[in-house]
């Protein structure tokens, strides 16, 4: 991912999960964050699809439960890799 894409990803998580400014977004996990409920998860997935131009099927959505998992998923699909 480009630096720009990483920044965008972090902003999406901060906004959709309403994270305070001092939280290290790269360490965020669903299990340890009360605000990351079912509706927040759906909102997050929709935002990722919209901003990164991907379609995330439900089976994958179930597994995207941390920042690290989401970044890995987007990397695998070349989302946010920039243009040559």
């Amino acid at each position: 991912m480009t630096d720009e894409a990483v920044t965008k990803l972090q902003e999406i998580l901060r906004t959709t999960l309403d994270l305070p400014a001092d939280v290290d977004v790269t360490r965020v996990r669903q299990l340890s964050l009360e605000a990351w409920d079912s509706l927040a998860h759906v909102t997050l997935m929709l935002a990722l699809e919209s901003e990164f131009g991907v379609t995330i099927d439900v089976a994958d959505q179930i597994r995207l439960t941390s920042y690290a998992a989401i970044q890995f998923y987007l990397d695998e699909r070349g989302a946010g890799a920039g243009h040559d």
Binding site: W36, S38, L39, H41, D57, V58, A59, I62, T65
Partner: protein
């Protein structure tokens, strides 16, 4: 009808073909001894009792992962009165997602799938996360119905109850005070004093309606009597689930000796003026109740302008619950007229936690009142009296 996804996860409408996987879900989620046969039988009964679409099983949405049910949301047929006419509708009931899949998209998927199938629906929901989900698919949150509790055996109640754990939203000072009293051993005495005081208050008000005859019965009044009562009562109501003979007899009557409900009637000159349905207490497995026996006013029908009838019914309901061994009697209501009577009957108000959510996307959607106090709700609605 289903929303197939690219992976193995799909949201769809349940049919009899899903009976085996639904039974497995019941066993996983609720620990029930369910079988496919029992699921099919239950669907047939529900179809026969469906007042919204007679003969059709009320819609149930499922989310399957590789054929296994991981999310479930059911419904119960009902009709809603809007102050002018009665309309077919559904209660949404039984939203459940397996623990491993919670906080993901499954809850949203299953609620969305069901909401799409129900043009007019209502739900009684406690959990804030679930309320947000319903809100996201178009339900309006009209607010919480209030819980009222009348101590019948104050000493026993004060000694045993887990005040903080009940989840009734009591103010901190009440919880702290109750716990301190319990620890100091004063609870029995204090509780008994409160019980006597509230009992006297209720007895005073009971006398106001002494000319109305009350009776307790294991069987419901006739359908014709209940229909006539409902027709009389509904005229003063802005919104309510329909509480006619078909509903009350179908919902509360039957099961022989195992029927947990008792019918309390108020009559004058033989004419039925009102009916209350009391759920007898059971020794609950709920650890918060610590053996406290809680009776429930599951249903209450009377013309709202007849406060004398309401007072009589509530007084008789308390006597029935006490005779059945209840330590306290719970009544959940949203309507302002009933709230006034409960206060006069010595019930203690505890903040409501059961929210009424409504959505109506029919072409001729009535203007449902947006304040919950205009709705006539009861604890038995949507089977919410199963909780205790």
């Amino acid at each position: 009808m289903g929303v197939a996804t690219e992976g193995r996860v799909e949201a769809l409408l349940a049919t009899d073909e899903h009976a085996e996987v639904i039974a497995a879900f019941y066993r996983d989620a609720w620990g029930q001894e369910a079988t496919a046969h029992a699921v099919v039988e239950s669907r047939r009964r529900a179809a026969a009792e469906n007042v919204a679409a007679p003969g059709q099983a009320p819609p149930t949405a499922l989310v399957l992962d590789a054929g296994r049910v991981i999310g479930y949301c059911g419904s119960i047929g009902q009709r809603l009165w809007d102050g002018v006419a009665e309309h077919p509708a559904y209660w949404v009931k039984g939203l459940m997602v397996l623990p491993a899949y919670r906080s993901g998209p499954i809850g949203f998927l299953v609620v969305k799938q069901l909401a799409a199938l129900l043009p007019r629906a209502a739900a009684l929901v406690v959990a804030p996360a679930a309320r947000r989900l319903f809100g996201a698919v178009g339900f309006a949150d009209l607010g919480a119905a209030t819980n009222w509790v009348r101590p019948l055996r104050g000493g026993r109640l004060a000694q045993r109850i887990d005040v903080a754990g009940l989840g009734l939203g009591l103010p901190r000072w009440i919880v702290a005070g109750a716990e301190l009293t319990q620890r100091s051993g004063l609870a029995t005495l204090a509780g008994a004093a409160v019980g006597v005081g509230l009992g006297l208050m209720a007895a005073t008000t009971d006398r106001a309606a002494a000319r109305i005859a009350t009776a307790q019965d294991r069987e419901a009044p006739s359908r014709a009597e209940l229909d006539a009562l409902w027709l009389e009562a509904r005229g003063a109501l802005e919104a309510s689930p329909v509480r006619d003979g078909r509903y009350i007899r179908g919902r509360f009557d039957g099961e022989g000796d195992g029927n947990p409900y008792a019918f309390v009637t108020a009559r004058h000159g033989g004419r039925l003026l009102g009916v209350a349905v009391v759920r007898r207490p059971r020794v609950s497995g709920d650890p918060r109740l610590r053996g406290v026996r809680l009776g429930t006013v599951s249903e209450l029908v009377f013309p709202p302008e007849r406060a004398d009838v309401g007072m009589t019914l509530l007084g008789a309901a308390a006597r029935v619950a006490r005779t059945a061994g209840a330590d306290a009697l719970l009544c959940t209501t949203s309507h302002r007229a009933v709230a006034t009577l409960l206060r006069r009957q010595g019930y203690l108000r505890v903040p409501g936690n059961v929210h009424l959510l409504v959505h109506d996307r029919t072409a001729t959607a009535p203007r449902w009142p947006s304040d919950v106090a205009s709705w006539w709700l009861a604890r038995g609605d949507s089977d919410a009296d199963d909780v205790f």
